[in-house]
């Protein structure tokens, strides 16, 4: 008779995930509108590591280190943040349709970004002199504000997750309506807003990476450590209370962490859909249903998925770029359908 084993994150899963991530990251750095040459880029990495002579011209080095590498790193951070938050939201709400934007983060960020573009029409140009662009800052605060509003409304309307989700629907609809109204008053800036809403990693550099890194790192650490608690919440509030847990407190901890990560991601990349909802499901179907495995693997899986999607966004119609949200939905949806079909026997 076999010994019962608990589901735990194994070194093998982490190693496979990290290996895939490295492959995608390297491919992503090597591919781009300007061909730097694979061999020369790899020699450049080696030179940087060992202090040798760089094979790249100054301009090429700038493309590599100031544009491409930070963009890839940012893609990984954003993808990881969205997927890890999505997994946490699905667990806390015990709802497979939950995604990081459920509690009004997207609507809040959208409204704040629209207002910023409206109030400071030249914000994109003005941003040159700032270490942080006004648009990311507005989007970050808007996302936090949206979730805060939902939380306050949910608290005043009663307790429980269903109330909170409904409050999120109300807040998101309202904020989106206001945003649409502001857009109508301000048609000449519609394209700037539209571009932002579709999401992308286009205008980025190390500033954005440094801006969101602390939020994504701390939130991800908290969420990965909370996997067991999210599993306990899976038995419902009454039973979780009977197990000595305070469900409302655990939920608050997880939601604050996930919302901070989401707000950070939204602030620098706009609204990238699909990552937060599909990546956790793919992991759930392929690996395990326990959140102690699901949460950390979603972090890695989200990073892989978005970095790969960004490669496609940059190269499919080069030199022009496709919005990354189009890529995530276009590739993610069929892949998800494939995983659903492939695992139907196990779910039956």
């Amino acid at each position: 008779m076999s010994d019962p084993r608990p589901t735990r994150l194994t070194w093998r899963q982490v190693a496979v995930g990290c290996a895939l991530l490295v492959v995608v990251v390297v491919a992503s750095v090597l591919l781009g509108a300007i061909d730097l040459g694979w061999g020369r880029v790899l020699t450049e990495f080696w030179a940087q590591l060992t202090g040798g002579v760089s094979p790249l011209s100054e301009q090429e080095a700038a493309i590599l280190w100031q544009i491409r590498v930070p963009r890839v790193v940012l893609g990984c951070l954003v993808g990881g943040a969205l997927a890890v938050s999505g997994a946490a939201f699905q667990g806390v709400f015990r709802n497979p349709l939950a995604d990081p934007y459920l509690l009004g983060a997207a609507a809040g960020a959208g409204l704040a970004a629209t207002l910023m573009v409206f109030a400071v029409p030249a914000s994109q140009e003005m941003a040159q002199g700032w270490s942080i662009g006004p648009l990311p800052l507005a989007a970050f605060l808007g996302a936090i504000g949206g979730v805060g509003l939902t939380w306050a409304l949910g608290r005043s309307a009663g307790s429980g997750t269903a109330t909170l989700v409904l409050a999120g629907v109300a807040v998101a609809s309202f904020l989106t309506a206001v945003q649409t109204f502001v857009q109508q008053l301000n048609v000449e800036n519609l394209r700037v807003i539209y571009n932002w809403m579709l999401g992308g990693l286009g205008t980025t550099g190390w500033n954005e990476v440094l801006l969101i890194l602390p939020y994504v790192a701390v939130s991800s650490a908290v969420l990965c450590a909370s996997g067991r608690l999210i599993d306990v919440l899976g038995v419902g509030d009454e039973e979780a209370s009977a197990l000595g847990l305070r469900p409302a407190r655990v939920r608050l901890l997880v939601l604050v962490a996930a919302s901070l990560a989401t707000a950070a991601a939204v602030s620098v990349s706009g609204l990238i859909g699909f990552v937060g909802i599909v990546v956790p499901h793919v992991i759930r179907l392929m690996v395990a249903g326990s959140y102690r495995v699901l949460v950390p693997l979603s972090l890695i899986g989200g990073a892989i998925f978005l970095a790969a999607a960004d490669v496609a966004a940059r190269t499919v119609m080069a030199p022009s770029e496709l919005p990354i949200g189009v890529i995530t939905a276009f590739t993610g949806a069929p892949f998800f359908a494939f995983v659903l079909r492939a695992t139907r026997k196990e779910r039956a």
């Binding site: 608990p6 038995v235 009977a242 000595g244 326990s290």
Partner: protein
């Protein structure tokens, strides 16, 4: 392991008390069954003892009031299986049973080897070890009920509260589950409080019955004293006969009234 005492306990939600003035004393290792018609307040009384529902009066566990315990302390002393457990379908039986160790762990701590040993023993006792790696969604109704019991037993609490543990089980599975609980309480000295709607099973397994109707305790005592045809008629609105099983315990069986049949 635990002696339970209820002193004029009333429990309910906000302004409405669903059960009122329950007084009972259970020695260690005894089994109390709370019986009564649907909506009488049986489940609410159990929830009050777990601390999920508020109460007035005193609930004492080994002489100490549970209202003075922290949620974690109480969860280490009282195990609770609800009537319709919420089953996280993606978890394996082992993962699910391990959730029972929650009150013994720090907030962000992981289970250690000793927790795993406890879970393995519990699964073996409940004959679940061959299903240990199976996701809960693949289990039958009876297996699920045992998995829920495994999670509760992993808490290692001295008091077990079981809300209709035989719901949805056929007579064989219901009997097997109750036999299991009975063996565990005799082996470990665990005190058991359960609600049961099958009065014959309640009479067979419980040492004492409390009959609750519309929130009030209407009878307390050994099964043979509490279960009379008049009481069942008054409080359940049912026409029954009380027979005797070969071992002498009362058997409550419905009796049809020919005059009530519509031609």
């Amino acid at each position: 392991m635990a002696e339970l005492e209820l002193r004029s306990v009333s429990a309910g939600y906000k302004d409405t008390m669903v059960v009122r003035e329950v007084t009972a004393r259970l020695p260690r290792g005894s089994w109390l069954a709370i019986i009564g018609p649907n909506g009488a307040g049986k489940s609410t009384l159990l929830k009050a003892i777990t601390g999920i529902t508020g109460h007035s009066g005193e609930i004492l566990l080994d002489g100490a009031p549970i209202s003075a315990m922290s949620a974690r302390e109480r969860a280490r002393a009282v195990g609770y299986a609800p009537q319709t457990p919420v089953v996280p379908e993606g978890l394996t039986v082992t993962d699910y049973a391990l959730l029972g160790r929650t009150p013994h762990l720090g907030l962000l701590a992981r289970e250690g080897a000793s927790d795993l040993v406890i879970v393995r023993e519990v699964l073996a006792r409940l004959d679940l070890d061959h299903l240990a790696d199976r996701p809960l969604r693949t289990l039958s109704g009876g297996e699920r009920q045992r998995a829920v019991l495994a999670r509760v037993l992993a808490q290692q609490a001295g008091l077990l509260l079981l809300d209709e543990p035989t719901t949805g089980l056929d007579v064989g599975h219901a009997q097997a589950l109750l036999e299991l609980v009975d063996r565990l309480r005799r082996a470990d000295g665990t005190t058991v409080v359960s609600t049961l709607h099958d009065l014959t099973l309640a009479a067979q397994y419980a040492d004492e019955l409390i009959l609750v109707d519309n929130g009030d305790v209407v009878a307390v005592g050994p099964p043979a004293e509490v279960l009379t045809a008049e009481r069942v008629a008054t409080h359940y609105g049912a026409k029954v006969a009380i027979l005797a099983a070969p071992d002498g315990t009362p058997v409550v069986t419905p009796v049809r009234d020919p005059s009530a049949v519509v031609p």
